[in-house]
């Protein structure tokens, strides 16, 4: 997750999407939040929080949500028919 966030910050910096004077702020913010989550749900919540404050993370959040949704679909399918494998 931190790799994705960092690369996204770097891409935003390079493309000018993120002003350079916010680099230290956003990096510090991300570092402060990285160790807090303990579960996958915590990570999703943290990502939503970051995306709400920094729109550059919206794409990561959307991708994560889709992946989470796909995992939930698989879990739901197994839960409905666990012996169909």
């Amino acid at each position: 997750m931190e790799v994705k966030l960092t690369v996204r910050i770097a891409e935003a910096i390079k493309s000018g999407e993120l002003p350079g004077d916010q680099l230290s702020i956003i990096c510090r913010d991300v570092l402060d939040n990285l160790d807090t989550p303990q579960t996958k749900e915590d990570y999703v919540a943290m990502l939503a929080d970051l995306a709400s404050r920094y729109p550059i993370f919206s794409s990561i959040q959307e991708a994560e949500n889709k992946q989470q949704e796909a995992v939930q679909n698989v879990d739901t399918m197994f839960a409905r028919n666990p012996t169909s494998q």
Binding site: T6, I13, L23, S59, Q67
Partner: protein, 629 residues
């Protein structure tokens, strides 16, 4: 001219672009992307570095922006559009490159562990690189690494040894040297650079030059692109206005409102940005497709794993079932073995018991043979008695009270009992008990001796073993008994002895004495008939299978109990039915009826036996000839 306007716009865009360029953050971005690609585990360090890029970096960025603008103007040849590089800049750039490479070598060298063979090889390569850098600049070698003893350039071997020493010391000497040189440069900026420029100064200049070069290159490319775009636009514009009225209108519009055409072109640029954004969206879509494909692959893998796990579970269940069956079989075998061992253990005892049973069976066979012989004897005796019956019959009837005979003939055994009960009121309970117990005591011991032997033994010793009951019967029949030679005991004496003695007898009233005699007569008669009844019953009735062996055994074991009465009553009923069939319409209670019954009985063994079972006439059962009255 439109071209001038476009150029002015370009300059504004270029400034805007340059203003966005923040060297520190851009450099951080490039390094971070590289770190993410090569060493993702160090990405937190990259984030930390990003967080440390603070306001000073921003200020420096502003400063550099000014320098870029200045240098960019000076470095770009307006004629050729190429960067102008002076000799000094080239030299500084080369030094800076060398210095940067040395610093990188130090940095990489410091992270290696000399105790690891793999790292040792890397360290050797780094040493070779350092030597090659030093050799490439012999004049700089002295600058960087002067021989501390001679102050002259070192040989290659010394360079190598020195390089190793420097590397192992973590570059401390180098930094000290560099700091000194940098301080000297600060103190005297006009000092000739060829000999006194420090590595840091070279690096700083290199960084600036590199940054300037990159920005100049960006500006140059942008200018070129926009210049070409302007030329194309102009040409298109001119081409468009030449053929027709629309061109004329556009030309007029361009002349009258020059900013309008620029707006149109700006819109085209915005369109290009939109296209770029669209391309990014397409890239994201491709990424999503890849994610979906990856998820599908993951799902397929998960399914395969689940299939494998299910197969393993099935196999484990099968193994458990097989092992359970084996365990059950083993338990059954073990139980069977234990049973066999127990059987084996008990075999001697079983053998003893079996042999004992065989012996008892052999004994039983002997007894059975004896009983068979006795039965044959009894039958023979019975036949002989039957021959005597006609002779004895009249005498017997003479000795038996008529009312008793009638009761038995009618099967009214209950009435006999009632008769006894009717006499009881004349007796007190204690007196009656004495009488009955006295009879019981004597008849029990004598009777037990009588009943416990097989019938043939009884028959052979009949005079001895039946004496007790028969003696009492004699009191009833004869009124007296010769108990010993010369001693005659009367019925009254016998009754007196039973109830206690002369004093007890005289204490009774006359009615009570009569009652005692009556009860005694009935009781003794009853017992005597039962005794004889059993004997003939066994011989005749059982011989004709009119009752079962079991009933007979019960009669034998309990001659005085209710079963005897019941069996007797049943035989009496059969006797009566037989008589009624033989003598239909005849009153069997009359003297004539009795006479006709005896006629039939004397001709039919079965009826005779039945009569014996009923014990109708005890006198008939006497083997000895009754006394003539």
């Amino acid at each position: 001219m439109p071209t001038e306007q476009f150029m002015a716009q370009k300059a504004a865009l270029g400034k805007e672009f340059t203003g966005k360029g923040m060297p520190e953050s851009i450099r951080w971005a490039n390094e971070s992307i590289e770190t993410a690609r090569k060493k993702p585990e160090n990405i937190r360090a990259a984030l930390k570095a990003g967080s440390e890029i603070g306001n000073q970096s921003i200020l420096r960025t502003e400063e550099l922006k000014t320098q870029v603008e200045t240098i960019g103007k000076e470095a770009i040849d307006p004629e050729t559009g190429k960067k102008v590089t002076t000799r000094v800049e080239t030299e500084n750039l080369k030094k800076a490159n060398d210095g940067r490479e040395l610093v990188e070598i130090f940095a990489e060298y410091g992270q290696l562990n000399p105790n690891i063979p793999k790292d040792q090889k890397k360290m050797e390569k780094l040493e070779e690189r350092m030597v090659s850098v030093l050799e490439a600049r012999p004049d700089g070698t002295q600058l960087f690494f002067p021989d501390p003893k001679k102050g002259v350039p070192m040989t290659d071997a010394k360079k190598c040894v020195f390089a190793r020493k420097m590397l192992k010391n973590g570059g401390r000497e180098l930094h000290m040297l560099v700091n000194e040189e940098a301080q000297a440069l600060i103190n005297d900026p006009n000092k000739p650079s060829t000999a006194s420029e420090s590595v840091i100064g070279a690096l700083e200049r290199y960084k600036d030059a590199e940054f300037n070069r990159d920005n100049a290159q960006i500006d140059l490319d942008t200018a070129k692109s926009e210049h070409q775009q302007i030329l194309d636009d102009e040409q298109s514009f001119l081409d468009a206005i030449t053929p027709g009225a629309l061109g004329e209108q556009l030309k007029s519009l361009s002349d009258s409102q020059p900013g309008r055409l620029a707006d149109i072109l700006t819109s085209n640029k915005a369109l290009g940005l939109l296209n770029q954004h669209l391309e990014q969206l397409n890239i994201q879509q491709e990424q999503l497709v890849r994610v979906k494909t990856t998820n599908n692959d993951m799902l397929k893998g998960v399914r395969q794993q689940l299939n494998g796990i299910n197969r393993q579970i099935w196999g484990i269940r099968q193994q458990i079932a097989d092992q359970t069956n084996q365990l059950n079989q083993m338990n059954a075998e073990e139980k069977k073995l234990a049973t066999l061992q127990e059987r084996k253990k008990n075999l001697p005892q079983e053998k003893i018991q079996r042999e004992k049973a065989i012996r008892e069976a052999q004994k039983g066979k002997v007894v059975a043979d004896g009983e068979f012989t006795a039965a044959s004897e009894d039958l023979r005796i019975a036949n002989r008695l039957r021959e005597k019956t006609e002779t004895y019959f009249a005498d017997a009837l003479y000795h038996l009270p008529d009312h008793i005979i009638n009761k038995y003939l009618d099967g009214k055994m209950d009435e006999v009992a009632v008769q006894i009960e009717e006499a009881i009121p004349f007796l007190n309970e204690k007196l009656r008990e004495k009488l009955i117990l006295g009879l019981d005591e004597k008849h029990y011991y004598e009777g037990r001796r009588l009943w416990k032997y097989p019938m043939h033994i009884n028959t052979k010793k009949e005079k001895m073993i039946g004496s007790a009951v028969r003696q009492d019967w004699r009191y009833v029949v004869d009124g007296k008994v010769t108990t010993s030679p010369g001693v005659v005991e009367t019925l009254e004496t016998r009754v007196k002895n039973l109830i206690g003695g002369e004093a007890e007898w005289k204490a009774l009233t006359e009615d009570q004495q009569k009652a005692v005699k009556a009860v005694y007569a009935v009781e003794v008669t009853n017992r005597y008939m039962k005794m004889k009844q059993e004997r003939f019953f066994r011989t005749k009735v059982l011989g004709q299978q009119l009752i079962t062996e079991h009933e007979f055994r019960e009669l034998k074991k309990h001659p005085w109990n209710a079963d005897v009465m019941e069996a007797s009553a049943r035989a009496n009923q059969q006797f009566r039915e037989a008589m009624e069939q033989q003598l239909p319409g005849v009153d069997l209670t009359t003297t004539e009826g009795k006479g006709r019954m005896w006629d039939i009985i004397n001709k039919d063994n079965v009826l005779y036996a039945l009569m014996m079972a009923v014990s109708v006439t005890p006198a008939l059962l006497q083997e000895e000839k009754p006394q003539q009255s």
